[in-house]
Symmetry: C2
Subunit: 229 residues, 2 copies
């Protein structure tokens, strides 16, 4: 198909597709003339993936590029698979989800001073669930997120954080159970599947909050608890 | 204190503070001369909140403004409280978390055609957990997120989505249990607390995935499952 048909089929503007091509997010079509190329189903699939990662998962195009790099060059053995997938799912110094092959948390070394109470609390939370706690960028990302909540005046109790951790364990067990056997499909499912179900989980949290608040109202008998909107 | 001291105490550049003042994200200081003003602890607190919302929760300054509006004018009664908090926690059409008082999902009316299979699946998921399902922007946000995952080639089973939903219920119960009694503090805890623990939950999910993968390897005895990195 021509690029105009690709635009039509994916509902993505022509200018955006040309931008993806220039940036290498979309592989070139097969040249049929000096200024013409044809595109196929692999292009449709790639455009849909890029759109889902930017629009639903909220990734920057730079982050999308890192994700595509891992998908296009999946690890040769299952042994390296989760490591590669996790590297691309790291959090940046601001605590955002940030795909990226390099060490994504520059503070991991310097902020690792054991005196940092937030690193200590994050490591303690991780240890309590049997998660990896040593030399782990994710633990430092978690510490930064706890520090940010505290700076904003949100006091998070051990019970509240414990409930978040327990929920994370439940989600992760289902995530790993859902990973397909084929290595290429597996890395795609872990990376893309995690990024695209993150917003699903957060939306469900809000739906569940409405229900939990109504239930709390029912049990308390009215104004004493948070009513349903 | 002078604005230079505010910059020092919050570790936020002077130019950024002036930008916050111009944009109304930070309330003016008390004028002491035509070009001078003094700032106090309320300014320090506000700057820290704005930084946490932009850096940890990843909000745009426009979204931060919507959050501050609710915090500065909390509902008069507990009855309106969760509604106001939820309005500011809605998701936009891309499925991102998007604070904002107005109807944040423009597709809520038009996309509500019952023929949309993703709206139907989202409503079914919500109904199964006893969540609100009718005329609900969150359900349409969820439908968009499921559609995006499907477009990216991620096949989400009922079991997998059910595990996410169950985790969301666990988190929400703890969220509501943690809400303080004072209405002003409550709206702050629901809105800011939810926004700042969203990234905590997602980081924990990744830590738990490492552990779940290692456990799956142990039980399967090696290469048959995903090994720890």
């Amino acid at each position: 198909m021509r690029i105009s048909e690709l635009a039509e089929q994916t509902a993505v503007p022509l200018a955006t597709l040309k931008y993806y091509l220039r940036e290498g997010l979309l592989h070139p079509g097969r040249s049929t003339a000096r200024t013409q190329a044809v595109y196929d189903g692999t292009h449709v699939e790639r455009v849909r993936l890029v759109r889902a990662l930017t629009e639903s998962a909220g990734l920057s195009l730079g982050s999308v590029r890192d994700v595509l790099e891992v998908l296009d060059h999946p690890p040769a053995t299952r042994h390296e698979l989760l490591g590669a997938a996790q590297d691309v799912l790291l959090v940046d110094e601001g605590g955002h989800l940030r795909p990226g092959g390099e060490q994504a948390h520059p503070g991991a070394a310097s902020a690792a001073a054991p005196a940092d109470p937030w690193v200590a609390r994050a490591a303690e939370l991780a240890a309590r669930r049997g998660w990896c706690t040593t030399d782990e960028p994710l633990v430092h990302g978690l510490a930064d997120q706890l520090r940010a909540a505290d700076a904003a005046g949100i006091d998070l109790t051990d019970d509240h954080l414990g409930a978040l951790a327990q929920a994370a364990d439940g989600v992760a067990a289902a995530d790993i159970a859902a990973v397909p056997a084929d290595p290429g499909a597996a890395v795609r499912h872990v990376v893309v599947g995690t990024l695209l179900t993150d917003p699903v989980l957060l939306t469900m949290r809000r739906l569940a909050q409405q229900r939990a608040s109504a239930a709390s109202q029912d049990s308390a008998g009215g104004e004493a608890a948070l009513p349903e909107r």
